[in-house]
């Protein structure tokens, strides 16, 4: 029963990790860049929700109507100011640039909010739904529903709209996409905007379920990167599967063995998987650049 409970917890929490990881993998797929600042952007989203709740008493879920657009704009601004000017060795330079951007943001957040841990305390944080002997914390249920909604939205955007088609075209072959008249710059900017917007939603849930400070971003980004590598870079469904697998493994190990080994076990499984499939579960095989 404990194990079943752990699996349910893992699936529910995995849903919102998938949200954050999808932002990362989407950006990678379109631009070939690793958004190393995603961890601190999630924390920024959490702080925005926290500030709205603490000062204006806006419910975090309602606050998403403000934070997601704000973070979307942040993402677009990051693209034009940081990624676009990079002329050569985009992969590595963008990774280092985003690392540096993350450092600056960490310093700023630390300065504004100090390094004391904060958490968002809404009325439903501690309530839960009981089903037999199984417990469903209501916050995770809401978060899961929201994740499904948002991921469904992203899916619709990618596979049912004109914009989605140009985005997927840019993922497959940026040069050819440009040749057929797709403005790959704006597609890239929008995909970074979407990725950062998803970080806002994920950050809101993160803030509701954890105490956090700016330094939480290191733990977050390492988990998110692990998820994205596990699922395969650029694969949305891979990220979804990987986040649920990761959280389930972690929770089950925590129950049957010890909480301290949960994450280590996941990392070890990740390494084993990569031994067999270096490109991750559903990743594209690396092709030689011409």
């Amino acid at each position: 029963m404990l194990v079943l409970q752990a699996i349910i917890d893992g699936v529910l929490v995995g849903g919102f990790y998938a949200l954050m990881a999808c932002g990362l993998t989407l950006v990678f797929g379109v631009m070939d860049i690793v958004n190393f600042a995603q961890g601190i952007l999630v924390v920024l989203g959490a702080y925005l929700s926290y500030a709205l709740y603490a000062h204006l008493n806006i419910d975090p879920f309602l606050g998403l109507l403000i934070t997601i657009p704000v973070m979307f704009v942040v993402g677009i601004a990051l693209y034009w100011s940081m990624i676009k000017p990079i002329k050569r060795e985009r992969v590595i330079m963008s990774l280092l640039t985003m690392f540096a951007v993350g450092t600056v943001m960490e310093g700023i957040l630390d300065y504004i909010f100090t390094s004391n841990l904060v958490a968002i305390h809404t009325s439903y944080v501690n309530s839960s739904v009981k089903l037999g002997s199984l417990i469903f914390p209501s916050i995770y249920l809401y978060a899961f529903a929201m994740s499904v909604l948002l991921l469904g939205g992203v899916y619709y955007l990618l596979y049912r709209t004109r914009f989605g088609r140009s985005l997927r075209a840019s993922m497959q072959n940026p040069t050819a996409a440009r040749l057929v008249g797709i403005n790959t710059d704006w597609v890239s900017a929008f995909s970074l905007g979407i990725g950062v917007g998803l970080a806002a939603a994920g950050g809101m849930v993160f803030g509701l379920t954890n105490s956090f400070d700016a330094a939480s971003s290191y733990d977050l980004i390492s988990r998110l990167l692990a998820i994205v590598i596990f699922g395969g870079f650029g694969s949305l469904s891979g990220a979804l599967i990987a986040s649920i697998v990761m959280l389930v493994i972690q929770d089950v190990v925590a129950v049957v063995w010890s909480p301290t080994w949960g994450q280590t076990t996941f990392y070890l499984i990740l390494v084993l998987v990569l031994l067999l499939r270096p490109q991750g579960l559903l990743g594209r095989k690396a092709v030689r650049a011409q």
Binding site: D32, M93, T97, A100, T103, V104, G107, L274
Partner: protein, 383 residues
């Protein structure tokens, strides 16, 4: 500035224009830097200053070591804190269990720390080097975090977040920092010498060819995995030594400061600023930035403002000097020579025509766009 400098390898040299300053300048510059570094603690005896100098030496060893792998092969590792931490824990555990007295005896453990790091780098490197580019970069971070988690969790060895304490040597006053400084300097000289040897050797050519085109290098008969792995071991060795020196200097070891993500960033920044893949790059970057960073830290450390200052500095450097300081100097030097040669030999023609072959040659080897050499506006690379 130092003159031990980059020798781009692999490009056909355009006639008469050397790639580097004359031998006398290079040797003289190296000797001058060495003399200055050796004399530094004799001139500045203030412990606050010399302790910054010790940190500079620790990072110099690490940066030179890191550059041997990441600089020459183009595989950027931002997980070398793994070996920094391993070096720290090796020294701390050996001191604890073998009851090594503090002082000079501790320094004999430094090569051991390096060796342990290198030995552990064999399986890790073998695993990591199966993947390329971004996956490699991120896996290095993942491995670093695995080791950090292990350091937190294997409490019977590492005592977890409680950390380990090392006894302090009985040296006092202004003399306290000096042994650490000179040991660090010696290690840094060895690291630079190895880096120099690698750069000049046939083996180093193999590394550079992997950086430029790994598949083609393999096609030409280079055993790429073995070549990369050896470089990885060498870099782990020196970063391990740097870690051991840090542990014995600071006197304590904690998981989050041993396996420290900030260390990864710092080393990458140092080498990128100085010029990645060059011999003098890590030296220039470290001697310039670590004192600056320590100064920021002492000034603004309380409220983490130094993170902002450091991050902004890094972004500016990436933007303004994408090739790093050392290649920029070399470029400038070559530009002067090309201009002089043009004036001396060629009849007046359209400027740039005679300069371009040289420019193209240098760009092939050191990764600098021809555009910056000829002074034209930067062109966008095809993705």
């Amino acid at each position: 500035m130092t003159a031990i400098d980059v020798t781009p390898v692999g490009a056909a040299a355009p006639e008469h224009i050397p790639y580097e300053p004359p031998t006398a300048v290079r040797r003289g510059g190296t000797a001058l830097v060495l003399v200055l570094l050796a004399a530094f603690p004799l001139v500045f005896t203030n412990p606050a200053v010399t302790s910054i100098a010790v940190f500079t030496m620790i990072f110099l060893v690490a940066a030179c070591g890191w550059n041997i792998f990441s600089g020459y092969t183009g595989y950027i590792s931002i997980g070398h804190a793994a070996y920094y931490g391993i070096g720290q824990y090796t020294v701390a555990l050996l001191v604890m269990h073998l009851k090594v007295p503090a002082g000079w005896d501790t320094f004999t453990l430094l090569p051991v720390a390096g060796l342990v790091a290198a030995v552990l780098a064999v399986p890790i490197g073998f695993l990591l080097l199966r993947v390329r580019k971004h996956t490699f970069i991120i896996l290095t971070v993942a491995v670093m975090f695995i080791l950090q988690l292990l350091a937190f969790n294997l409490t019977s060895w590492t005592s977890g977040s409680g950390g380990l304490e090392l006894p302090f040597p009985t040296w006092t006053g202004s003399f306290f920092n000096e042994p650490f400084y000179y040991v660090g300097l010696a290690a840094a000289v060895v690291a630079c010498a190895v880096s120099w040897w690698v750069r000049r050797s046939k083996y180093g050519l193999g590394l550079l060819s992997i950086r430029d085109d790994e598949d083609r290098a393999r096609g030409l008969g280079i055993h790429t995995t073995r070549t990369k792995l050896i470089a990885y071991l060498m870099s782990a060795f020196f970063v391990g030594i740097a870690g051991g020196l840090y542990a014995s200097f600071v006197g304590s070891v904690y998981p989050q400061f041993g396996f420290d993500p900030n260390f990864d960033l710092a080393v990458a920044v140092l080498v990128f600023v100085g010029g990645i893949g060059t011999l003098s790059g890590p030296v220039i970057g470290t001697l310039l930035l670590i004192p600056l960073q320590q100064y920021f830290y002492l000034q603004f450390g309380n409220d983490n403002l130094f993170l902002i200052a450091y991050g902004v500095l890094f972004i500016l450097i990436l933007r303004l000097l994408p090739g790093g300081i050392a290649p920029s100097i070399t470029q400038l030097y070559r530009r002067v020579l090309v201009a002089r040669q043009l004036r001396a030999t060629a009849p007046p023609g359209p400027p740039g025509t005679a300069g371009s072959p040289g420019a193209a040659g240098i760009s092939r080897a050191s990764g600098i766009t021809p555009a910056t050499v000829t002074g034209a506006e930067g062109k966008e690379d095809t993705p």
